[in-house]
């Protein structure tokens, strides 16, 4: 029974990671950028929601109406001022730039909020959903539903809109996309905006389900990177599957064996998988001779 509970909880939490990983992988696909700052940005989103909720006394879900546009703007700002000017060695330079952004954000948050742990509050935070003998925190269920909804939106945007078509074109071949008149700069800017806007939502979810402080970002980013790598860089479907898969495994190991080994297993799986398939579970083979 405990195992079943762990599996379902893994799926519920996995939804959040899947959403974040989808944002990460989209950004990577379009711009070849590993958004290393996503962890810090999620924590920033969490703190923003926390402040908004405390000051305006509104529901965390409502706070998203304020924080998401803010963070989207921040994403576009980062693109225009930090990413776009990079000319050479883009993969590595952008990764380091995002690393620097992460450090900057972490430092600022640490000063503004001290380093004590906080959690976003809502009246229903301790309620839970009972199905038979299983018992799920309501907030997990709600955030899972939100994640699924947003993933659906993301899917519709990518596959059913004109912007989505430009986006997919830019992912597959940026040079050719520019040749046929797609403004890849604009696409990149909007994509990074979306990617970081998602972090605002992710932050709210993270902040309501976990106690956090400024350095929680490392925990998030390391997990997300593992998920994205495992799913194969640039593959949204892969990210979704591996997010759920990893979180379920972690939760099951935590229940069956011991919580301390849950996250270790997480990383061990990554190494084992990469030994067999260096391109990840769902990634295309990256390197060929020509």
């Amino acid at each position: 029974m405990l195992v079943l509970q762990a599996i379902i909880e893994g799926v519920l939490v996995g939804g959040f990671y899947a959403l974040m990983a989808a944002g990460l992988t989209l950004v990577f696909g379009v711009m070849d950028i590993v958004n290393f700052a996503i962890g810090a940005l999620i924590v920033l989103g969490a703190y923003l929601s926390y402040s908004v909720c405390n000051h305006l006394h509104i529901d965390p879900f409502l706070s998203l109406l304020i924080t998401t546009p803010l963070m989207t703007g921040l994403g576009m700002f980062i693109y225009v001022f930090l990413i776009k000017p990079i000319k050479t060695n883009r993969v590595v330079m952008s990764l380091l730039t995002m690393f620097a952004v992460a450090t900057l954000i972490e430092g600022i948050l640490d000063i503004c909020y001290n380093s004590g742990f906080v959690q976003i509050h809502a009246s229903y935070i301790n309620n839970s959903l009972k199905i038979g003998k299983l018992n799920f925190p309501l907030i997990y269920v709600l955030s899972f539903l939100l994640s699924v909804f947003l993933l659906g939106c993301l899917f519709l945007i990518t596959y059913r809109t004109k912007f989505g078509r430009s986006l997919r074109a830019s992912m597959q071949n940026p040079v050719a996309a520019r040749l046929v008149g797609i403004d890849t700069d604009r696409v990149s800017m909007i994509t990074l905006g979306i990617g970081i806007g998602l972090a605002a939502i992710g932050g709210m979810v993270f902040g309501t389900t976990n106690a956090f402080n400024a350095s929680s970002s490392y925990d998030i980013i390391s997990r997300l990177l593992v998920i994205v790598i495992l799913g194969g860089f640039g593959s949204v479907g892969g990210a979704l599957v591996s997010a759920i898969f990893m979180l379920v495994i972690q939760d099951v190991v935590a229940v069956v064996w011991s919580p301390v080994w849950g996250s270790t297993t997480f990383y061990m799986i990554l190494i084992l998988v990469l030994l067999v398939r260096p391109q990840g579970l769902f990634g295309k083979k990256g390197v060929r001779a020509q």
Binding site: F28, V34, L82, P85, I86, K87, T88, N89, V91, V92, M93, L95, L96, T97, F99, A100, V101, A102, T103, L104, I105, E106, G107, I108, D110, I111, S115, A214, Y218, S222, L225, V226, V228, I229, F233, V260, W261, S263, T264, Y267, M268, L270, I271, L274, L275, P278, G280, G286, V287, A289
Partner: protein
């Protein structure tokens, strides 16, 4: 056809490098400055900064031997830094080493252990490239951190371990650490220099530019990368050992610290990734500045902000680093001088590259 026309009277192309006099001059001045530094500034606060600068000097130089030359940006070298620290802490209590000069024996031991650990690790992670590699190194560091937390009977878990400190007088306490650190750092720099000018180093640079091409030219890329990886790990092990002895304690979150890797890469980038002395310069300046900030402002968070902002500025303005920027300046200086000479000699366009 007409091959021998070009062969015989070709002019030797001019050297664009900064002349040896300047380069070696700067090196010698720098060396003496480092040697007399703690004697001039004998205030323990200042020489503490010096010891940290030495630790980072050897760490960054070691890191650059792998990441700078091969272009594989490793953000998990804290693994070897941590191995050096834990090896020092565990062995000094296991062998009952009395705190004092004998503790320094642990430096070569830590180096060897870090080198040995680098073999299987390198073997695993060097199979992947680019961003996957970067991320894998980070993941590896977290694995080690988790092990340090979880294997309590050996590592003490989050309680950490103590390293006994000798009862030297405060005024000279820092000196042995400083000079031993300087010694190892110089060995690291010499190693880096020897590698850069060797055939082996050239193949590492070839790997940085185009790994597949390098393979097709007979370079055993796997072996070259692995050897560079091991060498760089060895110096990180030494850095960890001195750090542990100097600070006197090891904790999982400080031994396997993601910020440490960030620091290494910022220092190397600021100075000039892949150059011999650039990373050293970056290490000295930035680590000294960091310690100074820590001492004068307290909390680490201010420095995180400074660090982040500084890194962004460096990446924007000097993406190649300080040292390459200087050699670029010199290069354009030489080119302009030549151009003027040519213009004086021949009136009209000084174009000679049209014979194909």
């Amino acid at each position: 056809m007409s091959t021998d026309i070009t062969t015989s009277q070709r002019p030797t192309p001019p050297s664009y490098e900064v002349p040896k006099v300047y380069r070696y001059g700067a090196l010698i001045v720098g060396f003496f400055a480092l040697v007399i530094f703690p004697l001039v500034f004998n205030n323990p606060t200042i020489s503490t900064i010096g010891v940290f600068a030495m630790i980072f000097l050897m760490a960054v130089t070691g890191w650059n031997i792998f990441s700078g030359y091969t272009g594989y940006i490793a953000l998990g070298h804290a693994v070897f830094f941590g191995i050096g620290q834990y090896a020092t802490a565990m062995l000094s209590s296991y062998w009952h080493i009395n705190p004092g000069m004998w503790t320094f024996v642990l430096i070569p031991v830590s180096m060897i252990l870090a080198g040995i650990a680098a073999i299987p690790i390198g073997f695993m992670i060097l199979r992947v490239r680019k961003h996957t590699f970067i991320v894998l190194t980070i993941a590896l560091m977290f694995i080690f951190q988790l092990f340090a937390y979880n294997l309590r009977s050996w590592t003490g878990g989050s309680q950490g371990l103590e390293v006994g400190q000798p009862g030297w007088d405060g005024s000279v306490f820092n000196l042995p650490y400083y000079y031993v650190g300087l010694f190892v750092a110089i060995i690291a720099i010499i190693t880096s220099f020897m590698i850069r000018r060797s055939k082996f180093g050239l193949s590492l640079l070839a790997i940085r530019d185009d790994e597949d091409r390098a393979r097709s030219l007979g370079i055993n890329t796997t072996r070259s990368k692995l050897i560079a990886f091991i060498i760089s790990a060895v110096f990180l092990g030494a850095a960890g050992c001195i750090y542990a002895m100097f600070v006197g304690s090891v904790y999982p979150q400080f031994s396997f610290d993601p910020a440490f890797d960030l620091e290494l890469s910022i220092m190397a980038f600021a100075g000039g990734l892949g150059t011999i002395l650039g990373p050293s310069l970056g290490a000295l300046i930035i680590s000294a500045a960091q310690q100074y900030f820590l001492i004068s402002f307290g909390g680490a968070n201010v420095f995180l902000i400074v660090y982040g902002a500084l890194f962004i500025v460096i990446l924007r303005l000097l993406p190649g680093g300080v040292v390459p920027a200087i050699s670029d300046k010199w290069r354009s200086h030489v080119v302009r001088k030549e151009q003027r000479k040519l213009d004086a000699e021949i009136q009209g366009p000084a174009e000679g590259g049209a014979k194909k």
